[in-house]
Structures are given as C-alpha cells and as structure tokens.
Amino acid sequence: MAKLRVVSGRNGPPAGGPGPEAMLSLEELRSQLERLVDRVCPSWLTSRRDDIVQTAVIRVAQIIGRSEGNATFAASYLWRVAYSVTVDEIRQLRRRQETSLEEASVADVVDGAPRDPEARMIGRQIGAAIRDCVRRLGASRRAAVTLYLLGHSVPEIGRLLGWPTKRAENLVYRGVAELRRCLTDKGYQP
C-alpha cells in the first residue's frame, strides 16, 4: 500500500492542495501494477503480462528520472504515468502481434492449469458473438450496455456517461434484453 506522508511536492508535481499526499516507491508501484494487470489481463495477453509490467515500470523510471533506490513520489502522479505507459505497451504489443508470424496466441496455461483448446475456441466464439451483438445496438444503448458488461452499476453508468439514472436504467435494461435476443438468435444460451 502507498505510504502516507506530508510532503511539499518535491518528488513529481506539486501536491496541489492542503493535506498529506500519498507517496509510492517504484517497487511498490511495480507490485501493485502486477496485481492490477493480472486482474484485467485478457487471455490473449496473459503470456506477455510480466513483460508488460516490467517494460512499463522501466519507462516510468525513465520518465521520472529516478536516481535513488528508495525515492518515493506522489502516488497520483506515478499512477497516471504508469497507466499511460502500460496502455502504450499493450498497444505496441498488439501491433507486434498483428505483424508477427506468431499470431496473438491465447495462453496455453492459465493459473497453472493447461487450457483445453476446445474451451479456448468456444470462449473466442462466444466473445466474438457477444461483441457482434453489442455492435448491433443503437449508440446510446451500446455505450450503456458496454459499461454494464464491464461491471459498472446503472447509477455509475449514468454518472460516467452524463445521463440521469432513470435514462441509464432504461438504456441498460432494454439494451441487455436486445442483447439476449441477439445471442439466442445466434444459438447461445444467455
């Protein structure tokens, strides 16, 4: 966890307000970033997960001009930088996969257990089907349902997308119903 310490903003940008600013060392950032990337990493990136984190942390170190082993920095600033470089690394990896002869390969082993090829194929087909059904929704329903499928609550969806909760509720409910019909038409049991 980030260390709490009163600072004057000497490491990274000014704290920007009264009160203590949470601080973070690069080692703490690395270990937390490993956990978070592990949580969101899709199967088509799992085999490169460690490389993503390693490369991202190195780039953070370059950007912040790290010189001392135990230096700490404003956590919000460090996370902002880490996020940008991690996304950049994921996108570069995707581009390399697009041009490499070794096509984006889904991990053969997940959590120490070998992944059944048939299960992988079925998972891929289901993913493609649900994405296709989402694509067929009207724009507002598509945006609302996308966030719903990613785990956001209805009030949260309204807040993020600038809608009253009631409107977000309508869009999600009707959008999911339409999604279910589409998946059923494709032969899936939603």
Binding site: L26, L36, R39, D51, G69, I90, R135, R159
Partner: protein, 224 residues
Amino acid sequence: MTGPPSLAPDLLAAFADADVRTSGPCPPADEIWAAARGEGDAAGARQVALHVAECGACTVAWRLAVEVARVTPPADLDRRTESTPSSRWRRIASVGAAAALAAGLAGLFVIDARRFPARPDVGVYRAAAPAEVRSLLPDGAVLPRSEVHLRWTAGPEGSRYIVRVFTEDLTSVAEAGDLAAPEYLVPESRLAGLPAGARLLWQVTVVPPEGDRFTSPTFAVRLR
C-alpha cells in the same frame, strides 16, 4: 421496472476477454483514463465507451483505469462538464458517428466501420505497424565487461535508435540516443561498480524516419 435481464457469467467474462480489433483509431490513453474515472466531459466518455465496445485493447485500458481508480484518490466528479468534444480523436470519432447515422438512415441494419472510406488522419493514431525489435544476442548471454556489445534487429531504413541499460533494480547504467546503427557497446567504465554475475536489462526505442517510434521488449544479459 424490475432488474435488468441477467446474463450468464461466462458471457460477461467472454465479453471482457474478446480480442476484437477495430479499424478506427484508438483514443489517447488519458482520454480513456478520464472517461473511466468520470474526470472528463460526458460526451467524450460516450465516444470512448463506443470505441471500447469494439476494441479489445481499449477494453483492457478501460478496466485498468477502473482498477487504478480503486487504489488512488477518487475522481472529482464536480469537474464533469458537458462540453462539445474538442480533442482530435473525438472529432475523428464524431465524423465516424455521423457517417454511421447516415448509413443507418439509408437502411443498413448493421453498422460496419469497414464500409466507410479511410479517414486521412487515421494515421495520426495508427501509423504503419512497426517491425518487431529482437535482440541478436543469445538468451541469457554472459558477457565480459569490456565487451557488453548490444545488438538488435534493424528498424525501417533510416531509423535511429535510443538504447537504455539498467540494473535489475532499475538504476540507470547507460543511455545512448540517436544511434545510426542497431548496436551499442556499453562503456566499461559504466559497469565498474557492478558485481560479477549482475544482470543488466536493456531496451531499444526505434525512431523511424516516418511514423511513430516504438520500443522493444526488455532484454537481459549478465556480466561475467
């Protein structure tokens, strides 16, 4: 209205996991960050959400922003505005949305972005896919201090290179920029304080004459 129709957990997982790729440009990372954390304008967030619906990599980016938000201070939601999209990516995305609407009115039931002519400034965010950079040293190479000669595959003709060398705890050892050739001999003086067997990490950024620069994976060698 009762709760939304439920969806099987494996469908939710499959949605997040899907390796879908859109032909359109991806928004800058900071726009996804702002949208997922409720820090930007709502119109922009809607554009980002529509893109996330069609892009596996940006789905990961969105989910990562949400996870980071859980470990960092919460967003200031009072700063939410309803301004018109101003960023270049959103202008591009808005053009795409207008085209999609026109296609819908023409009677198409499925909006397929590939049917629309390529937008000339798509290249701003999606330059030609770069070649992969590979180390030309054997895996786990053990090198004498006088001969830490790093070599890698060349980028497009006319590329320049930036190479950075670190210890395992990310202390900078050496850095060289604007190299004309895909190789770099680490000065022995930079290795003086390192013990035998020390592991060095190194990474190359290729700066092609045209298009975006790209960075290699991290490679490793050991000091004899």
